[in-house]
Amino acid sequence: MTIAIVTDSTADLPRGLADEHGITVVPLIVRFGMEEFKDGVDIDNDEFYRRLQSENELPTTSQPSPGDFAETYRTLAADHDGIVSIHISGKVSQTVNSSTQGAREVAGDDVRIETVDSGQATIALGLIAVEAAKVAASGATMDEVVATARDAMTRARFYGMVDTLEYLLKGGRIGRAKAFLGGLLKVTPIITFEEGESAPVESPRTRRRAIDRMKALTEAAAPFDQLAVHYSTEPEEAAILAQEIAHLVPDSGVVTSQIGAVVGTYAGPGSLGVGFIRAKSG
């Protein structure tokens, strides 16, 4: 009895971490004009951010096709009894719909496929997939893996500060973070995902304060099963932040993840954040 874990490229999982846990990542699509790239496959993240800042037209993104998912599931079905496919919130992407359609084509007596709308995005989604993969590797049943993913969802969160809300707004993913808009004072918004979409957390006036506040918010959420730092274009800043919160997870270490092209289309350059799975309380 073996269960495979699938997620999508919006999980922003570092390749090493995905490989370590045997997680299959299905890429979303990012387009500059007529040029189409598979997220994290055909385009390097740094190259993407360079083009994001230099080109006049913003890129667009789209979900993988049901066929992309079906193909992935068929391959995995050859040596697995079940597949748990965990994806970005259905409120901001059609990916989970696409995976469900793909699963319908493949699922049958030989292989069970469950798709899960994580209600999350970026590294918070990635860490949920890692939790599920850990349990799957220990020989858990399909139902146990799905239950683990759903339980991890209740303990998963990210806090992300963005340099500008422009990308979220123009990309149509502003969600409840629209509450930040309209003011005249300069702020560095900290956002999270609440009920499957962007929501405001705090509005620090400066970048330095925003980083301090993210540290404080992270400390307030401890202890953790997993903790990660994610960034779009400033790896040094991310490394410092990771070092400063490392004491919160003395055993496992802080995962550092670069935000990929699809999430980066909405977060923009200069984004920095933390993601985590809180430890089970009591």
Partner: protein, 561 residues
């Protein structure tokens, strides 16, 4: 007899069956048109928001059951109306208003037509019957309005008024009596509304009056009068205070139980007394052959068994008022805040000036509600409480932003059922800094701590013109000079506001990280840009932002943090 007056309008000094039907039909239409308004005020005896609906349905049935037939005398029409009213009556208000028809029927018994004074006498008899139908008559309700209305009608009839004049006097007196109901009934004063049943009756009379005057089409809107004896009442004509809405949900009201007993030799008075033992809000009316009972027992069973022992029961309706109340409360909440989602925590900030308000709203990330106030316009405790009650959350952070408003703000937590915490901000710059420290991700107490710390981490500056010669911080300031005050102490005086601002910025050492300047309503646009440039030059390493605050009195408000 019908005659024409100088203006050509019809005047009428008698009522026959046809006229009575027309008057009642017009009144019924008016109540139906204004039904939702009447419902919205309904807080007594049970805040279930159905007074208007009950009155409207009762009146419609009366109109439907009383087909207009010219050969019918007014005595017969009134008799039919009274019986239909008793059978159709719904709710407290329906049953009490039915007594008006009982009174008219008694006054018109055996008559082909009645005079204005006989009509007024019928209203008197109706009011008496209404008082008698309730075991524990309370003033400040529909009963009071019926009594006062009848008195005004009599006075108008005695001074020779025609039907329209009598109805006009009655209608005006009704509106006035309705306005005074909060002074008589505490529950209305607490909710900040007028009595809904009384208002419904005034609408009925206003509709009938339009018919008598030959104007209106039955679709007129009659707004409720402002509640008298309620602070700030004029601002809140139709709305029920939100604190009352919440409190109402916690009270158990039981079942609204209504039925008719048909029998022989029924003792109305005795039945009324017994009915009060079964529950609240008893209304019992009828005669020896037909009695209608309305009561609010926690368990509807016993009173129905009691009724069944007296005769044949019909028209039994039992409504769960707790469900109705919950629906009503939900509806009121929606009405109070259309488009605003219910928040975990909301901020209420006292401030003035469009740019200052916008800064608070921005800082609060959609959770900050500005309430007007500041120097020379200190809001009352009631104003603050109302803003707190209206805010779309059960947890409120209150920012007074002025030392003269702090004391009033500190009264609010004990007056509100909501969890209210005052962050003791005493200036606008400190208040905005506190609001920027608000987090949707922490609880109320953590927010109080973070926001208080942020407020304390700010030095508040202001630039304003001296309105007379004065001694400030041991220095003499002349009328017309511009003073720069930092945390209340004079740091500079100058002949123009820009110089005062720059002097103040220069005086703050070591340099702060961030300086935010809010320009006042009186600062010219050209000076705003100059001020920003000058402040930047004076600010050393500090980052300087300037936004138009639009505040009165102060040319500049400045936050140093």
């Amino acid at each position: 007899m019908t005659r024409s007056d100088a203006a050509g309008a019809r005047t009428q000094d008698w009522i026959d069956g046809v006229v009575l039907c027309a008057l009642v039909a017009a009144g019924s239409r008016a109540v139906d048109t204004n039904r939702d308004r009447i419902n919205a005020l309904n807080v007594f005896p049970v805040p279930d928001g159905d007074t208007g609906t009950n009155m409207s349905l009762t009146l419609k049935t009366i109109v439907e059951e009383t087909t207009v037939r010219p050969e019918l005398h007014v005595g017969e029409v009134a008799q039919r109306m009274a019986r239909a009213a008793l059978l159709a009556a719904r709710g407290n208000s329906g049953l009490i208003s039915a007594q008006l028809f009982r009174g008219l029927a008694d006054a018109a018994a055996g008559r082909e037509r009645i005079s204005p004074s006989e009509f007024a006498a019928g209203m008197h008899a109706g009011a008496r019957a209404a008082y008698d139908s309730v075991p524990d008559p309370r003033e400040g309700t529909m009963l009071t309005v019926m009594r006062v209305t009848a008195e005004a009608a009599s006075a108008a009839a005695e001074s020779g008024g025609d039907i329209a004049a009598v109805l006009e006097a009655a209608s005006v007196a009704a509106i006035e009596a309705v306005a005074f109901t909060p002074t008589q009934l505490d529950v209305l004063r607490d909710a900040g509304v007028v009595d809904s049943g009384g208002y419904g009756l005034s609408v009925f009379l206003s509709g009938a009056l339009e018919q008598a005057q030959g104007r209106g089409n039955g679709a007129s809107e009659f707004l409720p009068p402002s509640p008298i004896g309620v602070e700030g009442g004029g601002l809140r004509m139709a709305g029920v205070r939100s604190g009352f809405v919440e409190a109402a949900q916690d009270t158990v009201y039981g079942y609204c139980t209504v039925f008719v007993i048909e029998g022989e030799g029924l003792e109305v008075v005795e039945i009324r007394d017994r009915t009060t033992e079964f529950g609240e809000s008893a209304v019992v009316a009828g005669d020896s052959a037909l009695v209608k009972i309305h009561v609010h027992p926690l368990d509807p069973g016993p009173v129905i068994s009691y009724g069944a022992g007296l005769g044949t029961l019909s028209g039994i309706t039992i409504l769960n008022m707790d469900e109705q109340t919950a629906d009503w409360a939900a509806g009121q909440r929606q009405d109070a805040a259309p488009a605003v989602e219910w928040l975990e925590t909301a901020i209420v900030a006292v401030c003035v000036g469009p740019g200052i308000k916008a800064a608070f709203v921005q800082a609060g990330m959609g959770a900050c509600i500005p309430v007007a106030g500041g120097d020379t316009m200190n809001p009352s405790v009631r104003d603050l409480l109302d803003a707190v009650e209206a805010a779309p959350s059960d947890q409120i952070l209150l920012l007074p932003n002025n030392k003269n408003i702090l004391a009033a703000a500190l009264q609010v937590p004990q007056l509100s059922d909501k969890a209210v915490r005052v962050v003791s901000t005493t200036s606008i710059p400190a208040g905005i800094a506190a609001a920027f420290a608000f987090s949707t991700s922490t609880d109320l107490e953590a927010n109080v701590a973070a926001m208080s710390a942020a407020a304390e981490g700010v030095r508040s500056g202001s630039v304003t013109r001296a309105v007379r010669d004065a001694g400030v911080s041991g220095q003499k300031v002349l009328e017309g000079e511009f003073m720069a005050l930092l945390d209340g102490a004079l740091v500079a005086t100058a002949g123009d506001p820009l110089t005062a601002l720059v002097e103040m910025v220069r005086s703050v050492v070591p340099h702060p990280e961030l300086i935010t300047i809010y320009s006042g309503a009186d600062v010219r646009k050209a000076d705003v840009q100059k001020a920003l440039e000058a402040a930047r030059r004076a600010a050393g390493t500090a980052e300087v932002e300037l936004v138009p605050g639009g505040q009165p009195h102060y040319d500049f408000l400045v936050a140093f943090e």
